[in-house]
């Protein structure tokens, strides 16, 4: 396909259910709502008088949710190169494995009676440890950001155990927003590290930021530009020399499977984003899981309980200096089972191939783009510049081609950034179409971009106005 792709034939039309001039698919509450009297065995003074909620039959609900699904775009709909999110294909069989009835037990069951779940947890801890080069892994954190919080709590507990209270966590300015927020939640002052001109960590700036107050440096590698931090060994030494710990944000691990491991690079703590690297579905925003791996020295600080094997049986135990708990129970079990199944399906070679193809796809796609890609060599993702176009507008226009756009306007080191991560799951034809979409948008005029999209379930949405006068429930609409 070429730049002069015929927009009429290479296009996408998302289902658009329109009820009238005012709305698309009506709300459940608009379809039928009933207020019923609350009559229970409880005394009246303890209960509400009535409950008013939508009341619909199953056939009506099936149509409602099917229509809503048709107005929603997922990985199975088309390319989804949302940078730093690793929107790879989610194997179907893992859905069936996750809801295996034998595993759907109550978390308070005694260890003797849930040896199967404990073994699966143990095996997954072990798999993840091998993949990341870490000595011990907890599965408890329910998302990547929860993993960050867990990891920083581990770092804090480690320093406290050494009677070494430190006050700062260093985060590169191009890092994920969660890094800053997680460090702050643990009570740390966040020191922002300016990036170097080559898009990597600037060692002089790092030297200046490091001190006896440094509890940890949080890094992702490859970084948000897709670049490998080539000085990682020196960086690790610098952090360790001041007594700090090095934290690995696993968001970009899909670039490295079988090629390099955070543990070998000198990282002390890492989290894994299993909904990125290990293909568990993103579910419209979650659930994910954010297991945390640590070196042997830090294992005693992991959350309670941890799972270990003793005399052929699996048991829960509390690590000696555990930080306590970061989830009420054992984390997002269904997601963890999917992770286990994915890793067991791919094995060493499949995992290594996933990274190989993810990196090949990113390079092949970038090669075809008319947009400039200022930094390289990149790995599983790259950041193109929309140049004189508004990246957010360009993204809207891409929707008209059946392509979910990249992450936009971040990282800020690239002007009008288009952060693009095609993943290994796109074939060549699909990448060609993706490139054609990018290039078509590159050549679209400003007016076209500003009025896009036109083929989606809804037209361009005014998010600024929505935030000015927030209406967050159908009750709020009724108050008008």
């Amino acid at each position: 396909m070429t730049d002069d792709t015929d927009h009429e034939t290479f296009a996408y039309d998302q289902a658009r259910w329109t009820d009238d001039d005012e709305r698309y698919e009506p709300l459940l509450s608009e379809k039928n709502t009933e207020a019923v009297d609350v009559d229970t065995p409880l005394p009246d003074e303890l209960t509400r008088e009535e409950l008013e909620l939508p009341s619909l039959s199953e056939p009506e609900l099936a149509r409602h949710y099917t229509r809503l699904s048709e107005m929603n775009y997922g990985v199975d709909s088309g390319p989804f190169p949302l940078g730093s999110c690793t929107m790879k294909y989610n194997p179907k069989f893992t859905e069936d494995v996750a809801v295996h009835p034998d595993g759907l037990v109550h978390p308070d069951r005694s260890a003797d009676t849930v040896q199967g779940n404990l073994q699966l947890q143990y095996e997954l801890q072990d798999y993840l440890g091998r993949i990341g080069g870490m000595d011990a892994v907890t599965l408890q954190p329910p998302a990547g950001a929860a993993g960050e919080f867990t990891g920083i709590l581990v770092a804090r507990e480690y320093h406290r155990a050494n009677d070494d209270d430190r006050s700062e966590v260093i985060v590169p300015e191009s890092a994920h927003g969660t890094n800053f927020a997680s460090a702050a939640m643990a009570g740390y002052d966040v020191v922002t590290l300016p990036g170097g001109d080559d898009g990597r960590v600037d060692l002089e700036a790092l030297e200046a930021a490091l001190s006896e107050e440094t509890a940890a440096l949080m890094l992702t590698n490859p970084n948000t530009l897709g670049l490998f931090e080539r000085d990682i060994v020196e960086i690790a030494e610098m952090v360790h020399d001041v007594g700090g710990l090095l934290y690995y944000d696993g968001a970009n691990l899909n670039a490295l499977l079988g090629r390099a491991r955070p543990g070998d690079m000198g990282f002390d703590i890492m989290h894994y984003n299993v909904h990125k690297t290990f293909a568990t579905p993103h579910g419209g925003g979650g659930p994910g899981a954010g297991p945390v791996g640590v070196t042997a020295e830090l294992a005693e600080f992991l959350p309670d309980p941890h799972v270990r094997k003793a005399d052929g049986d699996y048991e829960r135990y509390s690590p000696d200096s555990s930080i306590g708990k970061v989830h009420g129970y054992a984390g997002n079990w269904l997601v963890l089972v999917k992770t286990f199944a994915y890793i067991a399906r791919l094995g060493d070679e499949g995992l290594a191939d996933a990274s190989a193809k993810a990196v090949l796809n990113a390079n092949y796609l970038a090669e075809q783009l008319e947009y400039e890609v200022p930094f390289g060599p990149f790995h599983h993702e790259f950041v193109a510049s929309a140049g004189d176009q508004d990246a957010a507008d360009a993204a809207k226009r891409m929707l008209d081609y059946g392509v979910h756009p990249p992450t936009t306007k971040w990282p800020e080191i690239v002007e009008e950034a288009l952060m693009t991560e095609p993943t290994e799951a796109e074939n060549r034809r699909s990448l060609d179409q993706l490139a054609a979409a990018f290039n078509a948008v590159r050549n679209d005029d400003e007016e076209t971009l500003e009025t896009a999209p036109e083929r989606t379930a809804a037209g361009r949405i005014d998010q600024v106005a929505a935030a000015r006068d927030p209406e967050l429930s159908w009750q709020a609409l009724d108050e008008e």
Partner: protein, 442 residues
């Protein structure tokens, strides 16, 4: 696909060659810019398996679990989830989508989340519900940090009941650990809050009072309104823990003075799942700009029609970074979709009936258990919801062990106390349970 490669990387050999040639590389390895000193040359030692073999592996692994009838609750409950919820929530367009950064192609999920939020607004009477925290424990933790940000409350003391599901307490401890907050407990009296003791503990330094209904012991809190007044008197935030089934019939939290409601909303939408849930989080509208997590709001598109979008994102980590209201990014959106589907499937009639059954079933089982020699139930002279505590003449751990051997799992909550939970999913096994208890109770 490449031989021995990922089955989910759909490259033919010819395509791979052409792509490598296009980027000027001999093979993929040439594309990796990794210094030799950190190159990994080893193996993970993980064997690749076919799909069927992985399913067999998981079958074999999980078959080591004992097949027990569970009478377990204390924060994680098993209600029957209708098939419709599985089939519709598993539609790929929902399941394989992500956070709705491009609302024009995500109207379906946004509308479903908006409907979820609206249902919680109805159930709590509060003006705002977010579209999820991770679970009940992290929702409680977020409520505590919220208390440090809102102007109407001040102080450092967080008062929680002495009896609380351990995970909730311990997660709360971690969430407050980076703030100037201290968690203290107040006593309970016969399964619910000891309001008089709480009144003497609360002072001007109290920033938050947490109570639950039903409590961890299954008792409906009868004096929640007094706790609300008490919190208000000290300018403290009143956080109430509950769940959507209980809230379908219990007095609306807003009219009890609750400022925030937290809990596990997965009592609808997810069956027993080894503790996986979804954090319900609703609060007064005054706190809007300080709410943690994502919010879906109404917007207009260029056609002038009503649409939905994530809104007030300047509260969130990707914009506000270390000054964000929370670090949460990935949440439990798909569970929220399922919770809303389940609530819609039940409808108001079905919800009220289910909640009524939770009261009735607990009452009936308590009466049957009370008839067993060596057991007295319920221990607390309260109204119970799903579960209750029973006193055993024999040491409770011994009774529980014997019950486990007979095929029944129960909680041990004291030296001579067990806790029993019943819903529609275990009611058919209760005759057998009562017979087994009769055997082991003396």
């Amino acid at each position: 696909m490449t031989a021995n490669g990922s089955p989910y990387a759909p490259h033919t050999d010819a395509d791979r060659e052409a792509m490598l040639s296009a980027v000027g590389a001999d093979d993929e390895e040439a594309l990796f810019d990794i210094p030799d000193d950190v190159r990994f040359d080893g193996e993970f030692g993980i064997e690749a398996r076919g799909e069927r073999a992985v399913r067999s592996l998981v079958d074999r692994t999980l078959s080591a679990n004992d097949d027990l009838v569970e009478l377990l609750g204390r924060g994680h409950y098993d209600h029957y989830v209708p098939s419709m919820v599985d089939h519709l929530s598993d539609r790929s367009e929902f399941l394989t989508s992500y956070t709705q950064y491009q609302p024009e192609v995500a109207q379906g999920f946004l509308q479903a989340l908006f409907e979820y939020q609206s249902m919680l607004v109805e159930l709590t009477g509060l003006g705002v519900a977010n579209c999820s925290m991770y679970d009940a424990a992290t929702a409680l933790g977020e409520a505590a940090t919220l208390a440090t940000r809102v102007r109407s409350t001040s102080g450092t003391r967080v008062l929680v009941p002495e009896r609380l599901q351990a995970g909730r307490r311990r997660v709360l401890d971690n969430y407050v650990s980076g703030h100037d907050l201290a968690v203290e407990t107040y006593p309970m009296d016969d399964g619910t809050a000891d309001v008089d003791a709480l009144a003497s503990l609360a002072d001007e330094e109290t920033v938050l009072v947490y109570a639950e209904t039903p409590t961890v012991r299954g008792a409906v809190e009868e004096r929640a309104d007094e706790i609300g007044t008490l919190a208000d008197d000290h300018d403290a935030m009143f956080v109430l823990g509950s769940d959507p089934v209980a809230l379908s019939v219990l007095e609306e939290p807003a009219s009890l003075g609750a400022d925030v409601v937290v809990g596990d909303a997965a009592t609808l939408g997810v069956p027993t799942a080894y503790g996986m849930g979804i954090g319900l989080f609703a609060c007064r509208e005054d706190y809007l700009r300080q709410v943690p997590g994502r919010l879906v709001g109404v917007a207009e598109d260029e056609t002038g029609r009503r649409t939905y979008t994530l809104t007030l994102q300047t509260r969130e980590q990707h914009i506000r970074r270390e000054r964000a209201t929370s670090n949460i990014c990935t949440n439990q959106a798909w569970v929220a979709l399922r919770t809303a589907m389940h609530a819609a499937w039940l409808g108001p009639d079905g919800l009220v009936e289910l909640a009524g059954d939770c009261v009735e079933r607990a009452r009936e089982l308590a009466a049957r258990v009370d008839d067993v020699d060596g057991v007295r139930a319920p221990v607390h002279d309260r109204h119970h919801f799903r579960e209750f505590v029973a006193r055993t003449d024999r040491p409770a751990p011994a009774v529980a062990d014997d019950l486990e051997a007979a095929g029944y799992a129960v909680h041990v909550v004291g030296d001579h106390e067990i806790q029993l939970c019943t819903t529609e999913t275990n009611e058919e096994a209760l005759d057998g349970f009562v017979a087994a208890l009769r055997e082991v109770a003396r």
